[in-house]
Every structure is written in C-alpha cells, then in structure tokens.
C-alpha cells in the first residue's frame, strides 16, 4: 500500500477497537514471569555459557594475551579472540568494532569470549586472562576536543551552519536578548534487561535468540560481521525488557554467542553483566549547547540561534541537539550548527529521542529565561511565537500542530495561574516550591513496514511481522489494528512478532514503531479482506467486516467460511510517498512540573507532573499513557540525577553500575497525569497516528529546571541539577 495522498475515511475510523484502552495482551505473561526473554529460550539444547573479556584500557593495543590459564580452567570448552575469529566485517551501524584486538578503541571493548559448561566456570576462567596492554594517548575531554571541532550535518559529514535570514545582525539589533551555554552529560540507557543472546549453528545456518529492537538490521549486520549470507540467519526477539535505543544495533552478545557457538560446536548463551554494559555498549553523548535568542519588546522572536557540540569515536555521529530549534518557534532569522569532536570514549549513539531530548533540555530553559527578561509569562511567550509553518520554508505547513492548545489546556488543568512569577516566593514548611513549564516537541518519522495476516476456518486472525515489542505495547496495538480492520474482537487475533521469519517491519525506535507497524498490518489486512471478499463472492469495496461476519446488502457470511478450504493470507507493506516532505510531520505537547526544593539541603523532589500530548490518533490510550509516564520519569532522571561521569585520566565512565548511575525510583515520582488531545492526522498514515513514546520525554528536564528556578531563584544550566551546584545560592541559614 502506497501512502501518498492524505488518508480518507477508512475501516480504522470506526474506532470500535482502536483508540480503546485495551489491556496489554502480553501482560499476563509479563506479570507471571512466563514471557521468554533472550537468555531464557529453551529451544537451544544443552547450551554452554560465554563470558566476555573486556579491555582494561581505553585506547592502545594488546601487547600480548596469555590465555593458557583460561583454557586450562575447569569446564572451559573454547576461547575466541579476534585472532581466532578470523577476519570479521563491521556493519555501518556500528562505529567501534564489536570484537577488539589487537587495537583497542574504548574501555571494556570486548577482546574475547570464554565458553564453558556453566556460567560460573566461564566467569571464573575469564578472570584468568593475562593481558598486557600498550596504552596510547586518547582524547577524553569534550571541552578540549570541541575547541578544534568543525561543523557537521546531522549525519556527521562536514557542513556549514544552517542560516535563515541574517542571524547575526538580527540578534545584535534585538532589544531583548539571551546568550547562554547549557550542558547535558552522557546518559546511559540503563534498561532493565541486559544485552543477551543465545546462538546455535546447524551446519552453516545460524539461529540467534536475542534482545534487539530492529530484527532486520540486527540480522543483516550480524551477517555482515560474520561474512555470511543474511538468509542463513534466523534472528528472534519476541520479548524485550527495554532498550531505549541501546538495542537498536547488533551488539557484542549476539556476535560473541555466534562465534562462541561455532568454536564450541554447540549452543552458547552470552549475557553482559551490568557493570560491563555501560562502557561496552553505546550511550547518549554529552552536549555543550549555546543558545542565542533575540526578541522585540512585545515578545516576538526575531533571531534564534542554537549550536551544539558533542563527541564520538572516529567515524561516529553528532548528537543532533538542534533538531527542534529549526521547527519549534517562529523567527525570521535563524542559525543552527552541530560540531562533532573526536573522543576515545565508548561509542555515542541514539538514546530515546536522540537530538530532541538533550536539545529541549537546553532550549526550553532558554525560553524560560527569555520570557523572564521580557516580563512575559512563559506559556504566553511560547504561544506568541507559535508557527504553523516550517520557519525555514514557509510553504511547508505542519500537518497538524496544536502546541498552543497543549499549553493552554495544560496551564488550565495544572493550575498554572497559581504560580508566582517572581521566583523564590512560595514556601511550604522547609520546602521552597515552584512550577515550571516546557513545550514538548519530537518529529514523527514514517518507515516502510510489512506484515502478513492469516485467516483460518475458525475465524481466528493471525498477524506475523518482525515488529518488536520493547515493553511498549506493540502486541496489543497490532491486535487492535487487525481486529478493527477485520471486524473481529481482539480475542480473535493472535500476534506473532520479533522473528526474521516474518515480513520486515519498521521496528522499534525513534517513536516510529507504533504508527508505521500498525499501518503495515492495516495494509496486509486490507489485502486479506480482498481475498476473503473474493472467496465469498462479495464486492471488496462495499463489503462490511464486522462482528466476525462479512456483509453486503442482505447477504452475510461468517468470516471463517472464507478459509473453510484452507487458510487465507494477506501480505503487504505500507510505503510512504512525498507527504512527509510536503508537510512537516511532528508531535507536540506541554509539560508542567511542580517541585519542592529543600531550603536546607537543596534536594529537589518532584511534587506533581502533567503532560498534554498532541500526537495524532492514540491507538491505545492505556499503553500510550504508560509510554508517556515512563518518558516523564526518564525526564526527571535527566534533570535531577543521571550522569555518566567521565574519568578523563583513564577514559571511561566511572559509575558503570546501577548503584552509582542513579535513575529515579518510585519514591521520586509521586503523581503524574497525562492528557491526549483528540487528534487524527490524515497526512501521517492510514492509522492517522503519530509517535508519542519519545514526545513524553522531550522538555521534561527543562520543565523541572524551570520549576527549580521558580522555587529558588537559582538558574542552573548544567545538568543534572544536583544540590552541590546551587547549595551556596540557597537562602542563608537562620
């Protein structure tokens, strides 16, 4: 199905199932511990256990690697290093090699895997590896590295700043202006389920059970890494315990399980222990951002500039933190630029809402600061500078943009009018209290997505697609889509996901999964409807599918009758034309936060949060709400505690476990509310839906920071906002 004109009325619009808060169909499996995660599959008979050896240095070479004691240790079956593995390919989506040696590119880069009869034996044996390194100097300091970094485009290629109008003169001439620097630290995905894979070879065919957001990318990249045909690999990931972008890529676990299994001649399981994950895998890169905003006295932005610098290993890419600034606010004169430095830290890459998440953390503090300079309410200042068109190309309109409604309805619901605009005034016992607001913005991305749908004689509908459910609710919304399109209850739909045996979907990431994967399922269901109608002698265009029957005029037939002689199958994919270029597809929202800051200790505790989201049709308000409250929680983490600390002497993230890299716990998140505006975006896809899982994160950090400012009068531009950064500015002790 080609989607190249706005969606007309279609079977989804009935919204008998779609749009309802259907419980997660995989919920009982999750809550009873019976959903099978990557490390738990029992189809692989008699597996051995792999344990990864990581580099103890950040940059240099292995002078020698003595594995004699490892090989002689009890239970050891095989040891694989780069030398044993032979020449390996490297997929374009991986920046650093997954199996290092003799060159080492980052701390905890894998340099080998030990395979033994038990996990304990493999772990104990791996600790016996004797490695001597030759350390090389590395660059681990982002500030230093950025001093000589040049401007790049979003993909990391040399470029020039993007300028609209004449930014410099307009900024210089503005009567009210802000020029400030903001910093965000490196972040860890810190997902619950660690990286894990089981690999088993059958002659030259490889089966891998893994935990990966993108089945087809992972399969193809594993084939490329192992120099084998993609068709010879089965890549399976039916349940995933979180990823947040960390599992978009092929990682060490799958590669070393495959190499270990080959060497051992049997199935091998590999998981990464938590303290090894942070430096071995990817992270959200730190940024240093400069924002300049100029406005006329009435609050009209006349110049807006946003520059961001980040670092990555050679060949890596930038954190695209200026993305939203191109589109979020009006302003005739604009400048955005990304700088990319070379760092020898572990690989930087996508983490939930890459670009916008750290970009909005900076931009939305800047907007708060500007509003104060102008003497305007921060909600009113944002509304004043709303735009319904792409500011750089005014002929491109937003397909649907209700930012203003998000802000006004949110302000009303939250009781924004009770906020004292003068900071440091509100007090509740020992707590200084304050409210903050930020806009939410994240682009909507479409992608080709295929599915196959079967109908059997009992009327049961089975959907197959390689789409993944990373805890988001994919199983459920796909079932809802098929149920709606086929006119059957959700209970009559069986959903099979996460297997390379199935048609290639858009996968999970970039908040693109829900809308495009369901659109692909819709396309396949339309094909199946045609097949059913044909089989039963109905006109496919006029036949109604409802209540498990097909009807036309006075005639009706049970759906299953069409499959009486054998199951019927519809297969198709959704493909996108130019609508996403003609129109700007984005999602919008507003975040409101109330905090208390302890006047004595400076500790900030969240009191309540509200998100208002405008993201097209919400396919399942229950799972969408779960996504948004989870994202808001992550936003609180980024505001108050999350930071991978770089040891610039040794070049690694020091706090590489979950005791020292703190993420919010339940006690940090007392009250959250989410409102979805009733929307349907006909330019987006036949579902008229857009992404929402990352929108819920974008802006939260700044809303917290702005609330802290409102509470204390102390402006912090350096995340996370921990007490040590403003203790000396709090009210003096009496």
């Amino acid at each position: 199905m080609k989607f190249d004109t706005p969606a007309q009325t279609n079977p989804i619009d009935k919204m008998a199932v779609v749009g309802r808060p259907v419980d997660r169909i995989d919920g009982p499996l999750k809550t009873t511990g019976t959903a099978t995660y990557a490390y738990e599959h029992r189809e692989a008979i008699n597996p051995a256990y792999g344990w990864v050896i990581g580099s103890a240095i950040a940059k240099g070479t292995l002078r020698w690697l003595n594995l004699n004691e490892v090989k002689a240790a009890p239970g050891v079956i095989a040891v694989v290093t780069a030398q044993d593995a032979g020449p390996l390919g490297k997929a374009g989506r991986n920046t650093a090699k997954l199996l290092g040696g003799p060159e080492v590119d980052h701390y905890h880069q894998a340099i080998g895997v030990v395979v033994a009869e038990t996990l304990e034996q493999a772990r104990a044996a791996a600790a016996l590896a004797r490695v001597e390194y030759v350390r090389a100097g590395g660059q681990f300091d982002l500030v230093q590295a950025l001093a000589t970094a040049s401007v790049v485009d979003d993909s990391g290629k040399p470029s020039a700043p993007e300028i609209v109008g004449t930014f410099d003169t307009a900024f210089a001439a503005a009567p009210v202006k802000l020029d400030a620097e903001y910093t965000t630290p490196d972040h860890s995905h810190a997902m619950m389920e660690p990286f894990a894979s089981i690999a088993v070879w059958n002659n030259d065919e490889l089966t891998v059970w893994t935990s990966n957001q993108m089945i087809d990318w992972g399969r193809g990249d594993l084939a490329k890494t192992l120099n084998m045909p993609k068709e010879k690999i089965r890549f399976l990931s039916p349940y995933i315990g979180g990823g947040f972008g960390g599992k978009l890529w092929l990682r060490v676990d799958a590669v070393l399980a495959a190499l270990g299994a080959k060497a051992a001649g049997r199935a091998v399981k590999v998981t990464l222990p938590r303290p090894f994950m942070t430096n071995n895998s990817t992270h959200r890169p730190a940024t240093r951002q400069r924002i300049r905003i100029g406005a006329s006295l009435d609050g009209t932005i006349t110049a807006i500039g946003h520059e961001s610098g980040s670092g990555d290993l050679p060949g890596g890419g930038p954190e695209t933190a200026t993305a939203q600034t191109r589109l979020l606010y009006a302003g005739a004169n604009r400048l955005t630029a990304l700088r990319l430095a070379v760092l020898d830290l572990p690989e930087g890459n996508a983490m939930r809402a890459p670009g916008e998440a750290p970009g909005m953390m900076a931009l939305e503090i800047a907007m708060d600061e500007m509003a104060e300079k102008l003497g305007m309410d921060p909600v009113a200042f944002r509304i004043k500078n709303d735009t319904q068109v792409d500011p750089a190309k005014p002929e491109r309109r937003f397909s649907q943009r209700q930012l203003v409604r998000c802000l006004t309805e949110g302000a009303e619901r939250f009781g924004w009018s009770r906020r004292n605009p003068k900071p440091g005034q509100a007090r509740d016992g020992r707590w200084l209290t304050g409210m903050g607001v930020a806009a939410a913005f994240r682009n909507h991305l479409n992608g080709t997505s295929a599915a196959r749908v079967h109908l059997d004689a009992s009327g049961m509908v089975t959907v197959e697609t390689d789409m993944t459910d990373i805890g988001t609710g994919s199983y459920t919304i796909i079932a809802q889509t098929a149920a709606e399109t086929m006119g059957v209850p959700v209970e009559a739909v069986s959903v099979k996901l996460g297997s390379s045996d199935f048609p290639v979907s858009v996968g999970s990431g970039g908040q693109w999964g829900a809308a495009s994967s369901t659109a692909g399922v819709y396309a396949a269901c339309v094909k199946l409807r045609e097949a059913i109608a044909q089989k039963l002698g109905f006109d496919p265009a006029s036949a109604l599918f409802e209540g498990g029957f097909v009807r036309s005029g006075n005639r009706s037939a049970r759906l299953g009758e069409a499959a009486a002689q054998g199951r019927l199958t519809g297969e198709d994919k959704i493909e996108y034309g130019e609508l996403g270029k003609t129109w700007q597809l984005s999602t919008f929202g507003a975040h409101f936060v109330e905090v208390g800051v302890d006047a004595y200790t400076g500790v900030t505790r969240i009191r309540r949060m509200l998100a208002v989201c405008a993201a097209g049709r919400i396919i399942n308000p229950k799972s969408a709400r779960s996504q948004v409250i989870g994202a808001m929680t992550m936003g609180v983490g980024s505001a108050l505690m999350e930071e991978l600390v770089v040891d610039k002497r040794f070049g690694f993230f020091v706090n590489h476990d979950l005791a020292s890299y703190e993420v919010p716990v339940h006690a940090d998140i007392p009250h959250q509310e989410v409102i979805f505006l009733d929307e349907a975006d006909d330019k987006a896809n036949p579902m008229k839906a857009k992404g929402v899982g990352e929108l819920g994160l974008c802006g939260v950090g700044a809303a917290v920071a702005n609330a802290i400012y409102n509470a204390t009068g102390v402006r912090i531009r350096d995340y996370p906002l921990t007490p040590d950064k403003y203790l000396d500015k709090l009210p003096p002790l009496v």
Binding site: P275, Y600, N655, P720, L730
Partner: protein, 316 residues
C-alpha cells in the same frame, strides 16, 4: 567469581575456628554485599562459613536497661522492633533510610556494620586501589570523588564507610560483642570498631582474623528527639551524600554524628557539645582539618545545612 568451599557453622566457636584457621576464609550471613563483590572478584574468599544457623537472632533487654541485638537480627526486624522504635528511634530511622525493603529483609545487623565502601574505583578491578590490593595506589585520588570522604581520609585512600545504621549506633554509644576461636569474648565500643584508613586502608574493622560478632548492645535510652536526616540525589535506594544522626534534648543539648563523610561514622564529642550554639558551630568543630576534593567540598556546607534542618525541626 572464584570457586570456593562452603560450610554451615553449628556453633559460634566452631565458626570462629573455621575462619581463623584458614587463610582466605570469611563469614557469610545475609550476603547482600559479599556476594555482589565476589561476582566481580573484589572479594575472593576461598572458603565461606555460613553463620545463619547460629542463635543470634533475638533482641533482648539487658540488666542495665538497654538492648542486646543479636548479630543475625535482620535490618527489617531491628527497625520495626517496638522497643527500638520507641526508645532508639534514630536507629530505626537510619535503617529504613538505607537500601531497599528486600535487602533489609536479608541483611543482618553484623553484616551491615561490616559493609565495604562504595568507592567506584574499589569496585573496578582494572583500577588501582590500596584497599583492594594493598600498595597498588589509589585511582580515586585525582579521579571522580563526589561521593568520597572529606575527613579522616588519608593519602592511601579517600573512601567512606557508606552505611546508615552504624551512624546511629555510633550516636547511641553501642558496643560490639565478639567471640574468637578460643571462645574468648570481647566488647568493642563502636567508636573503635571502624578504623581510619591511614597507610592501611585494607584494615577496616577492629576484628582479629576469625573473630565473630555475636551481638550489638545499646546502653539505656537517651530520651530526647531522634532524627536521621539523609541527603541524597534520589529519594530512596541511594547512599548518603551526607547524613546526620542526632538526638536533641529539650535543653537543646544532644548528640550528633555524620555519615557519608569519613571512613567511619563521624562523631566528635567536643563538637556536639556546641549544639546549643547551632549548626555552624558544631560542624566547624566536627570538620576541622577536613581535606575535601573539588568534587566533594560541597559536603561541608551540606553537613551544616542538614544539621541546621534537624535543629530547626527539634525547635518546632
């Protein structure tokens, strides 16, 4: 994790003998700290003597009017004991400020006292650490030290003792009772139990090899208002940046001890005598001679402010 042998002790002296007679042997009770460290080979015992069957799981009145807490009383049982909540509320509050419900169900009183530091360089076996490997150096000095010690530290080690319960025990002048391989018992004042690092940060506790903790005794109740103010970046399940244990009497005198700042619970009796003069006077004295790093210098004003909040609450 290195392979180890395991035995379950039947009586205290046999347990002490089993550890004393064997280099590399260690006691295990709840295991909430030891097992994690064994998995990453920071701890590499060759033999574990499990003491959980020993009869140390009771809280009893002492003839002196205090409480004798068995070494194996769980953190949960201790924190919820009616007598503790009534008469030693600071102890109860310090315990529930630490770890999580699940860990407190498993962790023992003696084990809590014996927990190791949370210095990140101690946890990473690629890094130099005098505590983990004597003489190898200290990677934390000059490194990331936001959580680390500001006073009582040394040129060999700037780690802290990370616990909460011990801070309250120090405030209450608890006594640690032990038994050794010969059946000899000893009473160690809590003030002497945790050692300053000096040149030997590998020596953390005033225990001889194989010496087994049997109980912790509390003297008579102090009365007054009890506080445990724990400052941390998140609301729960985090180690203290700074904590303050205090008992404040109606005449504004009292006791105060600090956690998260030193190799041991930090109580300076001459400093707490200044409580009626306010927090600034107390901490100026308590932290005289502090040697903070750039990363953790904030702990000094934070300690003052945290104590000020306690004093303000006591006045209210």
């Amino acid at each position: 994790m290195k392979a180890f042998t395991y035995e379950r002790a039947k009586d205290p002296v046999a347990a002490a003998r089993a550890v004393a007679g064997r280099p590399g042997a260690k006691f295990i009770a709840g295991g909430t700290n030891l097992l994690d460290l064994m998995k990453i080979e920071v701890e590499v015992p060759t033999h574990l003597v499990d003491v959980q069957d020993l009869p140390f799981d009771k809280i009893e009145q002492t003839p002196e009017g205090g409480l004798r807490i068995g070494a194996l009383v769980t953190n949960t049982d201790l924190a919820t004991d009616e007598r503790v909540r009534r008469d030693y509320a600071v102890l109860s509050r310090s315990i529930v400020a630490g770890a999580s419900g699940q860990l407190r169900n498993k962790a023992s009183t003696a084990g809590n006292l014996l927990q190791r530091t949370r210095c990140p360089y101690f946890y990473d076996t690629n890094m130099a650490c005098n505590k983990r490997k004597p003489g190898s150096g200290c990677a934390a000095i000059g490194g990331f030290s936001r959580q680390l010690g500001v006073i009582g530290v040394s040129k060999s080690c700037i780690a802290t003792f990370p616990g909460d319960m011990a801070v309250a025990l120090r405030l209450l002048d608890a006594v640690v009772e032990t038994i050794d391989a010969k059946g000899k018992t000893r009473a160690i004042p809590i003030a002497e139990f945790h050692m300053l690092w000096g040149d030997h940060p590998e020596r953390e506790f005033a225990l001889a090899p194989g010496e087994l903790i049997t109980a912790v005794t509390l003297p008579q109740p102090l009365g007054g208002k009890h506080y445990y103010e724990k400052v941390r970046d998140r609301a729960s399940y985090a180690f203290a940046l700074v904590s303050v244990a205090a008992v404040i009497q109606p005449d504004r005198t009292g006791r105060v001890a600090f956690g998260g700042v030193a190799p041991k619970p930090w109580r300076v009796e001459a400093a707490e005598a200044l409580l009626p003069q306010g927090a600034v006077a107390v901490t100026a004295k308590a932290f005289a001679g502090a040697t903070p790093t750039k990363d953790n210098a904030f702990k000094l004003p934070l300690a003052t402010r945290a104590l000020a909040s306690v004093i303000a609450q006591a006045k209210a």
